[in-house]
C-alpha cells in the first residue's frame, strides 16, 4: 500500500504535524508492506501565496490568516472557493458577517481568489503520483482545505481512497463529515493509532473492516457505517514521530529563512485537571479527556533522539498540561544533560517557585499557564481550581525566572459583571513589572465544553459560528453536528466594557515593555525595595518595620487577611487586627502587595534575578541599550 499523508493549511509553518509523524512511525512497524510519504501542503500554500501575491502575503501573513483569524473563520472561508470550485464564494456575505477590517478582508479575499488554483494544481500532482491512499488530518481551520483537496483528487482519480482524521473528526463531527461529503471514503472519528494499525491490516487482508475501531465507512450500498469507538490509546502504544519530510521541505523552501524550526513531541494526552474539574469553556480535549502520560525515560530518550536526528533545539510539547510525575523524572534528567533547549510547555497555574525553577533549569523557556483571569469569582465560574493571587504568583515568579508566560484574559461568563474586575483594575498599575496578558477576549463556545454540553450553565441558545454557514453549502442542522465553534448569547461584560479592559491591558503591556521593575533584597535591617515601574515614583528605599517585613516575607505565597492577623500575633505579638489591616493597606498603596478576594501576595521580584527583556526585532534599529536588565 502506498499512502500519502497531506498536511493542509493552516497548520503552522513553524513545526511539523505530530499526528502525521506518529502515523508514519506506525506505518514503519509494517516494514515494506506500507510505503508512506508526508506532504506539507501548508508550506506549499505559504510559498504559493508568497509567489502569486508578489510577497504581499508572506509567511507572517500566512500565520496571521491561519491563527489570528481563527474566530473569524478566515482559514475555512478562504478555501470555500476551492471546495465549491467557484472563483468567488459568497464573498459579500462573508465580508458582512466576519467583522473584518477592510485591510484584513482584502488579505483574506486575495487568498480566497487563489485557493482554487492551488488546490487544483495540488490535486493533479497527487493524482499523478500513484498513491493508493491519501490521508488528511484536520484540526481547527483545516477542514475546508482538506475537503477541497479530497473532492478534487476524487474528481481526477476516483480510484484513490481518501481517509480523514484529526480533532475535527472527533465523535459526531466525523460521522457528519462522512455523510455530507461522499468523496471522503473513510473517517477516523477517534484517536488514530490503533485505527490506523487495524486499517493497514485490513488492507493486508488480516483484519475485517468491522474490526477497525472508530472507523466510519460505506457499505456496498453506499450507506455510512460507524464502527465501535476506539479505546483511548495508551501512551506506550504511541511511537516517537518521524519528521523527515517536514525538515526536508522547509530547508528547500524559499521561505526557509523565516521559518522558526521546532520539534513537536508529546508526553501526555488528555487533562488530569479536566478529568476532575472540566474547565467550563474548554473543549480542546474532545472525547479524549482521560489523562495518559508517557513513561518519563521513554519521553527523554525520544526527545534527545529527535534533537539529534533533526539538529533542532526548539521543542514544543503538545501536552495540554504537564504531568506532575515529570517533575521527578523528566525535568531533572533534562537539567543534568546541559543542552541549551528551548521548550514550550502548558502547565497548571498553581506551580510553586521551585517547580518553575526546575522547569527553567530543564530548558523550558515558554509557559502557557492557563491563567485566564486574575479574579477569583470568575475563576470559580470556570472551575479552574486557581485563585487570582495564585495566578499573580505564577506571573511574578515566571517573570523573575525569565520564563516567558503567555496568557489571555477571558471574559463573557454567565454571571460576570464589570464590577468583578474593579479590584484588579484598581491595582493594575502595580503589576507593571510582571508579564501582561496578550489580549482580553470573549470566550468562544466550543463543542465538548461544559458550556456546550450543559446549556443550563448559561448558554441556552446557540448556533454554529456564522462563518460556517457562508463556507459550507449545508443546512444548520448538519453544521450543528459537524463544527467546533458556536455562537451563544452574549453574556457578562458589554462590548464597551470589554474595550475598556482591552485599553487597560494595552497600557499594562506598554508599561512592562518599557522596562518596569520592582525588586526586593533582604538585608540585615529589613528589605530594600527598588521600584522603577512606569507610573510609580522611581526610587530605592528600605522597609524596616517588623510587621511590614513579615508581611512581605510571608506573602511570597498568598496569605489570607486572617492568616496574616494570626501570624502577626504569633510572630510579633501584635494583637490589633486594625494595625495589620492598616499596614496591608499601606503596602497595597505602595504597590508592594496585590490584594484579591481578601488574599494578599507580595509583588516584588528578587534583586539577584536576571530579567532580560527584548522587545522589537533584533535588527538594531538604533535604540541603544534597548532591553531592560535587572
Amino acid at each position: 500500500m502506498r499512502c500519502l499523508f497531506v498536511v493542509m493549511p493552516w497548520h503552522s509553518a513553524h513545526y511539523p504535524a505530530l499526528s502525521v509523524g506518529i502515523l508514519k512511525a506506525i506505518a514503519e512497524e509494517y516494514g515494506d508492506q506500507v510505503e508512506t510519504k508526508a506532504l506539507y501542503a501548508n508550506l506549499r500554500w505559504a510559498e504559493f501565496l508568497h509567489e502569486k501575491t508578489e510577497k504581499r502575503i508572506d509567511l507572517a501573513e500566512y500565520q496571521f490568516l491561519g491563527e489570528d483569524l481563527i474566530f473569524k473563520g478566515a482559514g475555512e472561508w478562504i478555501f470555500s472557493s476551492a471546495l465549491h470550485q467557484e472563483d468567488e464564494w459568497k464573498s459579500d456575505v462573508y465580508r458582512a458577517i466576519s467583522g473584518l477590517s477592510e485591510e484584513n478582508f482584502e488579505l483574506v479575499f486575495e487568498a480566497h481568489s487563489l485557493a482554487r488554483q492551488f488546490i487544483n494544481d495540488l490535486a493533479e500532482e497527487i493524482a499523478s503520483a500513484n498513491f493508493d491512499l491519501v490521508g488528511l488530518t484536520s484540526t481547527f481551520m483545516q477542514n475546508t482545505p482538506c475537503l477541497a483537496l479530497a473532492k478534487r483528487i476524487k474528481h481526477i482519480a476516483p480510484h484513490i481512497e481518501i481517509i480523514m482524521g484529526g480533532g475535527n473528526c472527533d465523535g459526531k463531527q466525523g460521522i457528519t463529515i462522512h455523510q455530507s461529503f461522499p468523496f471522503i471514503d473513510y473517517v477516523v472519528s477517534g484517536e488514530g493509532e490503533n485505527a490506523f494499525r487495524r486499517f493497514i491490516e485490513y488492507k493486508m487482508g488480516s483484519c475485517r473492516i468491522h474490526d477497525i475501531p472508530s472507523l466510519v465507512w460505506r457499505d456496498s450500498s453506499g450507506v455510512t457505517q460507524v464502527n465501535f469507538k476506539s479505546e483511548l490509546a495508551q501512551m506506550s502504544e504511541v511511537p516517537a514521530p518521524l519528521y523527515e519530510e517536514y525538515f526536508d521541505q522547509v530547508l528547500s523552501s524559499p521561505l526557509a529563512d523565516r521559518v522558526e524550526l521546532n520539534i513537536v513531541i508529546e508526553g501526555a494526552r488528555g487533562c488530569w485537571w479536566g478529568q476532575k474539574h472540566h474547565c467550563t469553556f474548554c473543549g480542546l480535549n474532545g472525547t479524549g479527556m482521560a489523562y495518559r502520560l508517557k513513561d518519563g525515560d521513554t519521553f527523554v530518550d525520544e526527545l534527545f533522539d529527535l534533537v539529534h536526528r533533526y539538529q533542532t533545539l526548539d521543542i514544543i510539547t503538545a501536552d495540554n498540561i504537564i504531568g506532575m510525575d515529570y517533575f521527578r523524572s523528566v525535568l531533572p534528567t533534562l537539567k543534568d544533560r546541559d543542552y541549551d533547549l528551548r521548550i514550550h510547555y502548558e502547565v497548571k497555574a498553581n506551580l510553586r517557585f521551585d517547580q518553575l525553577q526546575l522547569l527553567k533549569d530543564a530548558g523550558v523557556c515558554h509557559l502557557q499557564p492557563g491563567i485566564e483571569s486574575l479574579t477569583t469569582k470568575i475563576l470559580k465560574q470556570m472551575d479552574k481550581g486557581t485563585t487570582g493571587v495564585q495566578n499573580v504568583r505564577v506571573l511574578r515568579d515566571s517573570s523573575e525566572l525569565g520564563l516567558t508566560a503567555t496568557w489571555n484574559i477571558l471574559v463573557g461568563f454567565p454571571d460576570e459583571t464589570f464590577q468583578d474586575y474593579q479590584e484588579v483594575i484598581n491595582q493594575i498599575s502595580a503589576l507593571a513589572h510582571i508579564q501582561p496578558p496578550s489580549s482580553v477576549g470573549r470566550i468562544a463556545l466550543q463543542r465538548f465544553s461544559p458550556y456546550f454540553n450543559k446549556p443550563e450553565l448559561g448558554f441556552k441558545s446557540r448556533k454554529p459560528a456564522s462563518f460556517y454557514g457562508v463556507t459550507y453549502d449545508l443546512p444548520d442542522s448538519t453544521l450543528e453536528n459537524m463544527v467546533f465553534l458556536f455562537e451563544g448569547e452574549q453574556r457578562g461584560v458589554t462590548e464597551a466594557q470589554l474595550e475598556k479592559l482591552s485599553a487597560l491591558v494595552k497600557a499594562w503591556q506598554k508599561a512592562y515593555e518599557t522596562g518596569s521593575l520592582l525588586t526586593y533584597e533582604i538585608v540585615t535591617d529589613g528589605i530594600v525595595i527598588r521600584d522603577s515601574r512606569q507610573g510609580w515614583k522611581n526610587y530605592c528605599y528600605l522597609v524596616e518595620a517588623q510587621l511590614d517585613v513579615m508581611i512581605l516575607t510571608e506573602t511570597r505565597n498568598a496569605k489570607s487577611r486572617n492568616a496574616l492577623h494570626a501570624l502577626a500575633q504569633k510572630k510579633l505579638g501584635i494583637t490589633s487586627d486594625k494595625i495589620v489591616t492598616e499596614t496591608l493597606k499601606a503596602l497595597r498603596a505602595k504597590g508592594l502587595v496585590f490584594e484579591e478576594d481578601d488574599f494578599f501576595i507580595a509583588l516584588p521580584t528578587a534583586q539577584n534575578a536576571n530579567q532580560i527583556r527584548v522587545f522589537g526585532e533584533v535588527s538594531g534599529n538604533n535604540e541603544p541599550f534597548q532591553e531592560a536588565v535587572a
Partner: protein
C-alpha cells in the same frame, strides 16, 4: 506603618568596581548570584593591539564581557585605541561608554547597534548551533557538528593558545576566523559568540 529610608540603599551591593588585572579571575556567575547588577572596569580596554601583554588583557576582558552580556550584567567600561576597530565584530557585547566630552563614531555605532542575543551559541550535545545577527544584512545560523571544528569552537570558549588550535586543525581554525566566530590577538584566540544562559522575555525574540 511602613518605615522607609530614602536612598540609603541606592546601589547597595549592586555595583562592583574591577581593575583590568582582576578580570581574568572574576566569576561572573557568582557576581550575579550575589545581586551585582553593574560592574565598572577601571582602566581603558584596547581591543585592537596585537602585543602579547595587551592580547591577554583584551581576550580576558572579551571573555568576561561575553559572559556578563549573556547573564544580563551591565558593564561600564571605556575603549582605548578605538580608531581602527571594526565594531561589527563586537556589537553583540555590552558596549563601551564615552567619557564626558569624548566623541567616537565607533563607540556611538556600537551603542546604537547593540542588542541582546545578536550572536550566541547553543549546546546540542553532538552539535552546536550558532546564531549570528551582528551584520544586519548578512545574518547566519551555523551548525557545527563535526570535528575538528567542533573541538576548536569548544576549546576557544575561553582564551587559548592559537598554536594549540592550529595543532588541532589549521583549516578549521581558518574557517572559524573567516566567519568571525573566532578572533586572534597575539598568540591567543577566543570564540566571539557567548553561550546562551538566560533566555530573554519574550523567549523567541533572539
Amino acid at each position: 506603618m511602613s518605615a522607609t529610608t530614602q536612598h540609603k540603599y541606592d546601589n547597595h551591593g549592586a555595583l562592583l568596581e574591577l581593575d583590568t588585572c582582576q578580570i581574568a579571575n572574576t566569576d561572573v556567575k557568582r557576581l550575579c548570584d550575589t545581586g551585582i547588577k553593574t560592574v565598572q572596569i577601571n582602566g581603558k580596554i584596547d581591543l585592537v593591539s596585537d602585543g602579547q601583554a595587551n592580547a591577554s588583557i583584551c581576550l580576558d576582558f572579551l571573555s568576561f564581557l561575553k559572559e556578563a552580556t549573556a547573564r544580563g550584567l551591565v558593564v561600564n567600561w571605556w575603549l582605548d585605541n578605538d580608531g581602527s576597530i571594526d565594531t561589527t565584530l563586537y556589537t553583540h557585547l555590552w558596549p563601551p561608554l564615552l567619557e564626558e566630552g569624548e566623541q567616537s563614531i565607533s563607540v556611538a555605532t556600537w551603542q546604537q547597534t547593540y542588542r541582546f542575543g545578536k550572536c550566541y551559541w547553543r549546546n546540542g550535545g553532538q552539535f552546536i548551533e550558532v546564531i549570528d545577527k551582528r551584520d544586519l544584512h548578512n545574518q547566519f545560523q551555523h551548525l557545527i557538528d563535526e570535528n575538528p571544528m567542533l573541538e576548536i569552537f569548544k576549546a576557544a570558549h575561553k582564551p587559548v593558545s592559537r598554536q594549540g588550535l592550529v595543532a588541532i586543525s589549521q583549516e578549521a581554525l581558518h574557517d572559524l576566523e573567516a566567519a568571525n566566530l573566532v578572533i586572534s590577538r597575539g598568540p591567543l584566540c577566543l570564540t566571539m559568540p557567548y553561550r546562551v544562559i538566560d533566555w530573554p522575555i519574550p523567549y523567541r525574540s533572539i
